[in-house]
Amino acid sequence: MNDMRIAERVVDSMESKITARGVQVFYGQNHALKDVDVDILDKTVTAFIGPSGCGKSTFLRCLNRMNDTIDGCVVKGSIKIDSEDIYDPKVDPVQLRAKVGMVFQKPNPFPKSIYDNVAYGPKIHGLTRNKAELDEVVETSLRRAALWNEAKDRLKSPGTGLSGGQQQRLCIARAIATSPEVLLMDEPCSALDPIATAQIEELIDELRSQFSVVIVTHSMQQAARVSQRTAFFHLGYLVEFGETGQIFTNPKDPRTESYITGRIG
């Protein structure tokens, strides 16, 4: 906690991109998330912190309905993106996920070339009309993910051949190639070394200019470094949600204080 550098607190937008109200999640009998209300602002990095099993990843996966792929998972309450309920039966999760991209804990490049990894999203969503446009999207995405310089000469080599940090940046490039509006990151740095982590964190801060970023992290330092707003989850409850600076310097809830001072977690 000593070297914690609190990120710049400028919140660019007060527009609520995602509005969650009364969200409950059940995995079969297990009540994993209880009555969560959250507003995620546009062009902001929002961090979810909390001890393992507190429900932060579960909530993240609700935001692009990745929980649909898990047997026996039931989501109640309402989650709205741009005031449209994403659990409305008319909503196609495929369209939703194109709008709400996701980066996972472990880098998971497809066993294809770097180019094909990035081009995958634009291709399936039909975002480009010809090869030239596709090349451009791939290049832009790789540049934004700060991977272009390392990868431009080896676009045809397999994505699995990159180092861990590069793989994760490839996954970020892959996610932003579909031009999402929200980017969800599930502990994106937990499998990486400190140098790669620093690169990714820097990247996240840049991505904020275009996307609303939600990041789940185990590391409070990371939350403090990259996020503008922080939500603290504990045992399935959203305990506290507010400006990152306020959460870390002046937590209102005793549980938050215990967690950030290292007494629970």
Partner: protein, 486 residues
Amino acid sequence: MSAGLLSLTVLVLAVAGYILGRRRAVSVAGGDARKLHSLPSYHGQSVFLFTAVPAFILMIFWLLAQPVYIENRVTALIPNIEADDAAARELAMADVRRVASGLDLAIAQGALQQADLDTLQADATDLRGKLAGVGVALGADVSQYTFDAAREYRALKSSLGIGMAVAVLAVAAAGFAFAWSRITVAFRARNVSESFVIAMLIGASLVAVLTTFGIVFSLVFETWHFFELYPARDFFFSTTWSPKFGGGSSLGILPLLWGTLYVSVIALLVAVPIGLLSAIYLSEYASRRFRTFVKPLIEILAGIPTIVYGLFALITVGPLLRDWFAQPMGLGNSSSSVMTAGIVMGIMVIPFVSSLSDDIINAVPQSMRDGSLGLGATPSETIRKVVLPAALPGVVGAILLAASRAIGETMIVVMGAGAAARLSMNPFEAMTTVTVKIVSQLTGDTEFGSPETLVAFALGLTLFIITLGLNVIALAIVRKYREQYE
């Protein structure tokens, strides 16, 4: 002494060895088992093993070697036999064995006396009638030399039998005495009997290697014989297959290979799409309840014996295809056809494709699926563009294994494909396969040494090499694929 009685005796001896060895161990320790290096039961065990195992090994080798030895000695008595004419030898030996067992029976039933036998002359007395009286029918009168040979055969058999009993019992007793004398307080009986047990475990695992050797040896040996009688070039490149009783057969493998290939291709055309799509549906779409219910049902298909599929082809699928497809389309009117066998074999192979593919698809990490779904791909796009390409090598391996299964399958083609060797494109025509011909050549009435019978071994060797090759390649691919995700 019969082999059964002998083994029983050795066993009794060994059990006695266990009990006595145990007791002796306790007594050398002065009644205090704690003084011994090993528990008393280990001392017993070592006596048991030293008594039984060498004796049994000797007995097995004796039993294997005895017929070969007897045959060599006996055939020497039969004139007019060329040394390398295996067929004639075999025939003569069969006669000798029949006469000998007839004599055994006659003596057992009291129709003959052992003492009479030495004075009997085969042509003087009506031996054939006598033997027929005890239920052994002979095709022709017994010649003098056959009778002599049979007498020699019996004499050798009984003296060797006694020899075996003596030798085996001697070895058992020696083992007993050796192990017995070694029992002392410091004797490491546990280590000794454990090394013994481990040696036996190694022996057991070598059975698989021995089996392979047995297969390769017997196939290569008889195939060699076959190629001495029939030119290899004709076998591999001739396009006609017509075995004849009187000799002068043409035995070209090509029509058989064509039939095998044709049936297998149809089988795979049925099994691969159905099996692969079933596996995909079960692993990617089905609810857990549906999966636990349907997966075992598909696997039942793998547990059904092939004879059942054969009958299914014969009584249901064959007539159905003939009446609804072949005849209306004017493609023939045979109920056994390549199509019949191919479709039924395809049904049989479905579970192999589906369960192997299921394993392989499940080995693709979930994170890969999440990555694709998280980008907004539909499940089918995820499967077709991410999961299947990643699983491709494994799936290819699974298909090769299924192909090797189809090529080696026998009963379905015996009952469904027909027996006519043909090079034809019409799938509704009866054709035949390598396996069918192995069965028909080895169950026919031709004599063993003839090329018409021996060709089955050449066919078997071809089959063995093809399936083995496919398996080795498939297993290598699958293994490599698994390592990739481990």
